[in-house]
């Protein structure tokens, strides 16, 4: 028996959080990857190249053109009897489908694991990361979502697993994809970036987020935001880092004008190096920052952009 990992893909590429889920699954045994969609050829080819994957299953059907939870959960449930574990990354799509699949096979899922103790025992953050719970599952099949920031992804190349189509259950007609408004950006994805620079309420407006751009360009960084900045409408929801947004653990996290509510810290405190720029020297963000700069961001950011332009 093997571990089945649901692989998210876009434009023929397997998303990085899914490669982290593959890495986590690889600790438990043989790994099979599942690629579902309306036309999965390129994504299946990309999946077969992932080291660690022994077999790629493809589910090709018009009902799977968009990652709707209803058909995808039915597909996972139909495949579950052949597997010890069902894995997916704890992304919006993974969190949407995996609990539904788990309920269909009468299993209590384990969400957002940050560590693996053994085949039945997992570590996961609770209370916005203020505690780490170790839980043991009594279910025959374990249904798991993986916190991508806690597991280094497997490389995109190196393997050559065989590809095998599987049957797709008859589609449920109760839900229908209408549209998507996805942010377009040349920058790396938040959850995959080596450097993240985030703005908070202190940025004061969406326009001021432009001050972060030359710095992000220079560092190859993704741009993030606190909940306060998203709620205020400065930037769109997909920028949110925190307990209920994205969890990131880059090499460098730069928090600008962010006070450091526990809900924000939950999304970034595992970053390797944290820099905080805030004019309030008492802001809680400084308690987790390796380097703190008490300064007005409107003078510090242009200065930082200029300083980075100078060669070391």
């Amino acid at each position: 028996m093997a571990v089945l990992v649901l692989l998210e893909h876009a434009e023929g590429v397997i998303k990085q959080p899914s490669r982290s889920a593959v890495a986590a699954a690889g600790r438990l045994g043989e790994v099979h990857g599942l690629v579902a969609g309306a036309a999965v050829g390129p994504a299946a080819a990309a999946a077969s190249k992932l080291p660690t994957i022994a077999k790629v299953l493809t589910a090709e059907d018009a009902s799977l053109a968009h990652p709707l939870a209803e058909p995808l959960a039915a597909l996972l449930a139909s495949l579950a009897p052949g597997y010890t574990h069902l894995f997916a990354a704890a992304t919006a799509a993974g969190k949407n489908v995996m609990p539904r699949a788990a309920a269909l096979i009468d299993v209590q899922p384990i969400s957002d694991i940050s560590g693996i103790v053994d085949a039945a025992t997992f570590i996961r953050p609770i209370y916005a990361g203020n505690a780490l719970a170790t839980v043991r599952s009594a279910d025959a099949t374990k249904v798991i979502t993986v916190r991508a920031a806690s597991f280094d992804p497997v490389p995109a190349e190196g393997g050559s697993a065989p590809i095998e189509p599987v049957a797709v259950p008859a589609p449920d007609q109760s839900s229908r994809f209408v549209s998507a408004e996805l942010s377009k950006s040349e920058r790396p994805e938040l959850t995959a970036a080596r450097v993240v620079i985030s703005g908070g309420r202190g940025m004061q407006s969406g326009e001021n987020f432009k001050l972060l751009e030359p710095i992000a360009d220079r560092l190859g960084a993704a741009i993030g935001a606190s909940r306060a900045a998203v709620d205020a409408g400065f930037v769109s929801n997909d920028h949110q880092v925190g307990q209920t947004g994205k969890v990131v653990a880059p090499d460098l996290y730069v928090a600008v004008g962010i006070s450091g509510a526990i809900q924000h810290l939950a999304g970034m405190k595992d970053s390797k190096v944290i820099v905080a720029i805030n004019k309030d020297g008492e802001a809680p963000i400084f308690q987790v920052a390796d380097y703190g700069l008490v300064a007005d961001l409107f003078t510090a950011l242009p200065e930082l952009a200029r300083e980075l332009e100078k060669s070391p």
């Binding site: 209803e70 992304t91 919006a92 799509a93 969190k95 609990p99 539904r100 699949a101 788990a102 309920a103 269909l104 299993v107 209590q108 899922p109 384990i110 969400s111 025992t121 996961r124 953050p125 609770i126 209370y127 916005a128 990361g129 203020n130 505690a131 780490l132 719970a133 170790t134 839980v135 043991r136 599952s137 449920d172 007609q173 109760s174 839900s175 229908r176 994809f177 209408v178 998507a180 408004e181 942010s183 450097v195 909940r227 998203v230 709620d231 929801n237 997909d238 209920t244 090499d251 405190k269 190096v273 944290i274 400084f286 308690q287 987790v288 920052a289 380097y291 703190g292 700069l293 980075l308």
Partner: protein
Amino acid sequence: MAMKVLVPVKRVVDFNVKVRVKTDGSGVETTGLKMSMNPFDEIAVEEAIRLKEKGLATEIVAVSLGIAACSETLRTALAMGADRGILVETEVELQPLAVAKLLKAVAEREAPRLVILGKQAIDDDMNATGQMLAALLGWPQGTFASRLLIDGDGAVVTREVDGGLETVSLALPAVVTTDLRLNEPRYASLPNIMKARRKPIETLTPAALGVDPTPRLTLVSVAEPPHRQAGRKVGSVAELVEKLRTEAKVI
């Protein structure tokens, strides 16, 4: 068509309280802490009330599961504007699968057209109950909703996803889970708090609903996360860049 809305609400440690891990590692210390309604569930209650104010919902039934004190959480929902409450009372620690089974049983008794609840509870951060309830009922789901439109026999839900927003159309009955930006919940007014005392709360048990709530997950231990030391303050932007280059070596 008459539309009944069922709103599950969870009693959790208030979001402003920082919890502490018990010294013996057996769990999180919750004794004496301020308890409140899960903030995402407050958003769900608010959304249900707005549907009623628009004439789309006819009745709002709040349901909470757990110890007797969960009736306080129900009173909060009633004070906000829910019409009546159901308490499924048990001392057993309820995990999302058991909660979903109990809610399914309640939904079968109440026959709502819509169940709306928080996308996750801020204590266990599991983000599972709504999806599991939808699966058990065989209903479609609209999770992480930032906009909800009821349109005849369907719901159109805009969802917060990793790359931005996604809109799905669901046939009713359906389960919707709320994200932060769906609405801003109201505060209950004093007259409404007084009025809520007279609204009915029915008490049920897992046995009466025919559900075995036994947990599937055993809590082995709870630990403090690795503690991050505060670093140091730098005096200037130039010093910051120099430290990042030569000391931290991250740029």
